[in-house]
Amino acid sequence: MDDQGCPRCKTTKYRNPSLKLMVNVCGHTLCENCVEMLFARGSGNCLQCDTPLRKSNFRVQLFEDAAIDKEVEIRKKVMKIYNKREFDFPSLREYNDYLEQVEDIVYNLTNNTDVENTKLRMEHYQKENRDIIQRNKAKLTREQEELEELLLLEQQSSEQRRLEVLQEEQRQLQAKRKSKQALLDELEKSQVPAKLLLAQHKVRAAQLETEIEQQKQNVKPTSIFSTGIQIRQNVCLQPLPRIEEVLYQYKPIRVETYGPPVPELEQLGRFGYLNHVRATTLQEAAGGYTSALACHRAIQDAFSGLFPSKG
């Protein structure tokens, strides 16, 4: 940033560390002094691009690249108008298209391409969507809300930690004071020699000290992993029992029909059984149905138990 300077008076940050660079809507830089001089009357034209400027619109330049300052300025303005949220759109796709459109407008305005048309477009949009803009003004985007919430949580937890530490300190201080008071009381009332009492007190004080130390070190231990399993839970380390079984083997079923053998599925057509059965329609065939199936079943039913054996 040291090599940046005012284009008019050629002062640089290096020579004048307190140099303040300002930037206006057109994105061209001037130092504070030059702004005071050139815009003494409140308005004038930019030295570099002749855009009419107002003095009140000059801002301190935040970024090294003044174009970014300009862009951010424009972007903020555009965002005030184009403030629709994701839930204003029926689908994500449309929302993304909308975002791109906004981006286009900002791009055009910053790069001075097609400014007139873009401005017209913006005005048009503003008129059309006046109530939505009004309604959304106060609302934050969902992500913004999330962020706020996180920040709040963070603040709360740090505040709580601070309070806890404070309370702890207070408690310790009180305990110390109490023990001192107790010693004084005892020295006043007791008949025991003072030396002994002092020695006793010393021991007690040391005890108190170690207790405090311990408390400081004591943080509550977690008992649970983030996976939800208890930390010291006993888990069986034995290998899982391996079940050894004979593999299942398919054997075609044999049905005893006590009669002549039932014709096979493939034979039905040849023997003419299918002649009087309704043919499969196109829709049924799509599902894998053939008329032979039903026919076969019916014949099986008919054949079974024709000549039951006696006894």
């Binding site: 970024f63 951010v72 993304n96 791109e100 791009y107 380390l237």
Partner: protein, 760 residues
């Protein structure tokens, strides 16, 4: 030998076995049976690797449907090579014993830098350059362009592999990196892509941690690995730091400047393409409007490892409209970049949470959370569309977009710290934005969820129960094994006082204390007179080491030491250090004797073994705590306390002790090795420190070696070294710490073995 482990026939390629190896295999078998995760600690040098490999291979052979793949993750390339060599031995043993053709495929995978055989690309020095160059030769659109323009350079090895390599599976066998390269040269196939393709059907894959833990790489390499795999993380004592590093982002002013260049290039390229080939951009636009559906389908069928960077919901939704077209996206990047620049211009340290950052970015540059979340994915798509060949140039903008995605995805477990200068140099402005992950479980969660068994193992994992807590998983076995020894070959001594009774400690208050430094010097001096060959001394930090060495020089201690041994010093420069190491080994080898001064957490402490005479004594000067003033560490400690109820002190001590154990463990690399371990700080004598050392070291610390003076320590070491110098042969070990098959199967030995594993 053939072992019967709990009903499983295990081929073990050696004639003898250590009892703890048998016990280790038992525990491992139980873990695999229960299909759960395990944490196993076994001392280095007791054959962890071969035990792991032989059991899991046996398990794979016995139950090929239960465990389909072993993924073995190690840290460095030499370690990967070592694992493959062990595996080769095992496979040869199988071939000899069973006399049938083995159809096991095992291979190592490493980066392009280690695998490339393209004459031009492989001559590049840095990994990033190799990756970039390779991409510029093999990217799909480069190859597509070749159809129209035959002069377009492509990699002939990749072309050859793509043409025929995919149809023919890699023949069974064991391949290390060199084998792959040889094969590649012979067949003219690219070994890197061949390896990457082959890991999908390999039985055993050996590669580095990053291929599984770093979400950016894991997504490319490991996402299609089968669920029924066993994952082993070896040398995993630092796994939490690896996880954290893989999710953290550091942004400096330089990154942003480079990013600015990237964005400019992007814009120019878009402009150019728009004039020449607008259809391409339109096609991308159409795809984005439809949503990233292809990726979504793949994940639904559960063939992918979930990517923590890219949460599921992104895949279900289309890219938001505001960054759909390329120009808008570049504008978006520009705004984000300028915002980061303005943030880096701070004068004081800022620490904030992700939601605070998001709120601020919305207020300042109107960037919503949702487009941020899609940033990484959108950038990848754009880079693909623009057909940018050299992606290594775009690392800066990729980094920034990853940061954008991470910061908007996770509201917890991360913190943003902006430091305008380094703590040590408060006058030099060097702003850094640390986006630091505080929860190692985020990076490793997909691994635990996806794979059936994950084994975390190392020589130093104590206390074992802290790892499940910081990594947030539920192991079915947690065990720590000791080393059964025929003779006590390690001798840990805690030196707490100097000869003048000054307490020795590296704590902050006594850092500059002359008496302490002098006594440390005395300790080293006296040890250099008694210990033969090599001594390795570890300090807590580079700064501390420099101070002490300077002060020793002034006091003339260095001169006295040099009469006994040569002195070598580890520095932050890797080349210098490896030179020092080489010379140190030379001095040990020819009998002159040497001392290596190095730093805990440094290169030497993590990866270099000092076997036998290279390290007869290790002296640990002080307790190697991390630099506790760093804000990142503080934030992490706070997070650990709030989320996992781990006290700051507990974690710091745990971290210091695991590094101390790593350092002293460098000297003992096997049962025939011996070495002194000297802990020179009185704080080691406390129960809370001592209790966090690994069990195999703790066992040998008795009350007599707790708070020694330098003199007493020297006496004890003399005694120890004289004992160790006696001849020692394998026969002495047999039956005690080394077993034959018959000895192993005797009932009393089996009973003894059951006690080795220490369940927690």
């Amino acid at each position: 030998m053939k072992l019967n482990i709990d009903g499983l026939l295990v081929y073990f390629p050696y004639d003898y076995i250590y009892p703890e190896q048998y016990s280790y295999m038992l525990e491992l078998k139980r873990t695999l049976d229960a299909k759960g995760h395990g944490v196993l600690e076994m001392p280095s040098g007791t054959g962890k690797t071969i035990s792991l490999l032989s059991l899991i291979v046996a398990y794979q052979r016995a139950f090929p449907l239960e465990v389909t793949k072993l993924i073995y993750c190690s840290r460095t390339v030499p370690e990967i090579e070592k694992v493959v060599e062990e595996l080769r031995k095992l496979m040869e043993f199988y071939a000899k014993e069973t006399e049938e053709v083995n159809n096991f495929l095992a291979l190592a995978l490493s980066s392009r830098k280690n695998l490339c055989i393209h004459p031009e690309v492989s001559s590049l020095r840095f990994g990033k350059e190799v990756d970039g160059k390779c991409h510029s030769l093999t990217a799909s659109y480069v190859r597509a362009q070749r159809h129209g323009n035959p002069n377009q350079p492509v990699c002939r090895f990749y072309e050859e592999f793509d043409a025929v390599g995919r149809q023919v599976p890699l023949p069974a066998g064991v391949y290390n990196l060199d084998d792959l390269k040889d094969l590649g040269r012979r067949k003219g196939w690219c070994p890197y892509y061949l390896a990457r393709y082959s890991i999908l059907h390999a039985n055993i894959v050996v590669y580095s941690y990053h291929y599984l833990l770093d979400p950016k790489i894991a997504d490319l390499v490991s996402k299609e690995l089968a669920k029924k795999s066993v994952v082993v993380f070896d040398e995993a004592h630092n796994i939490d730091n690896v996880c954290i590093d893989s999710m953290s982002v550091n942004i400096t002013r330089r990154t942003l400047d480079r990013c600015q260049n990237n964005v400019d290039t992007l814009q120019n390229t878009i402009q150019r393409i728009k004039e020449t080939d607008a259809a391409k951009l339109r096609e991308e636009y159409r795809r984005l409007v439809e949503g990233l559906k292809e990726a979504n389908v793949a994940r639904e069928t559960d063939v992918y490892l979930a990517n923590p960077v890219l949460p599921d919901e992104i895949l279900k939704e289309a890219v938001p409209g505001s960054i759909r077209t390329a120009e808008h996206f570049v504008g978006f990047l520009r705004r984000f970049l300028e915002y980061l620049k303005s943030r880096l211009r701070v004068q004081h340290v800022v620490q904030e949470s992700a939601p605070q950052f998001l709120k601020d970015i919305f207020d300042k540059v109107c960037i919503d959370r949702k487009p941020l979340r899609f940033c990484a994915e959108r950038l990848q798509s754009l880079l693909r569309t623009l057909e940018i060949t050299d992606i290594s140039d775009f690392s800066a903008v990729t980094l920034i977009s990853n940061f954008a995605t991470l910061v908007s995805t996770y509201s917890q477990g991360f913190t943003i710290i902006i430091e305008p200068f380094e703590d040590r140099t408060p006058t030099i402005a060097n702003p850094v934005l640390h986006f630091s992950c505080m929860d190692p479980s985020i990076a490793i969660k997909p691994v635990f969820q996806r794979f059936q068994s994950v084994i975390i193992t190392s020589g130093t994992l104590s206390p074992v129960d802290i790892y499940p807590r910081i990594l947030d998983f539920r192991p079915v076995t947690m065990a720590s094994f000791t080393m059964t020894l025929a003779r006590t070959c390690l001798c840990p001594l805690i030196v707490g006082r100097g000869n003048d009774q000054v307490a020795l400690s590296s704590k902050f208050e006594t850092r500059e204390d002359f008496a302490v430094i002098r006594n440390y010097g005395n300790l080293l001096l006296e040890m250099s007179a008694v210990v033969p060959d090599g001594i390795v001394a570890f300090f807590t930090s580079y700064v501390y080491m420099e101070n002490i060495v300077a002060s020793w020089y002034e006091q003339g201690i260095l001169e006295n030491i040099q009469r006994n041994k040569l002195i070598f010093i580890e520095t932050q420069d890797a080349a210098e250090t490896s030179m020092a190491l080489e010379k140190y080994q030379e001095a040990c080898e020819n009998g002159r004797g040497a001392i290596l001064l190095s730093v805990a957490r440094g290169k030497v402490s993590e990866g270099i073994d000092f076997v036998h005479h290279f390290g007869r004594a290790v002296i640990m000067f002080g307790v190697p705590y991390v630099y506790t003033q760093s804000r990142i560490l503080k934030a992490r400690l706070e997070y650990l306390r709030d989320q996992f109820q781990i006290r700051e002190n507990d974690f710091l001590t745990f971290d210091a002790m695991r590094h101390a154990a790593q350092c002293v463990g460098r000297a003992i690399r096997g049962k025939t090795d011996y070495g002194l371990m000297i802990f020179a700080d009185k704080r080691y004598a406390r129960a809370d420190k001592r209790g966090k050392l690994p069990r195999w070291i703790q066992e040998h610390i008795n009350d007599g070696s707790l708070n020694l003076t330098v003199d007493e320590a020297v006496q004890l070491s003399k005694h120890f070294l004289r004992q160790m110098a006696q001849p020692f042969s394998q026969v002495d070990q047999l039956g005690l710490s080394l077993l034959t098959l018959e000895q192993l199967e005797s009932p009393e030995m089996l009973k003894k073995i059951a006690q080795i594993a220490h369940q927690t």
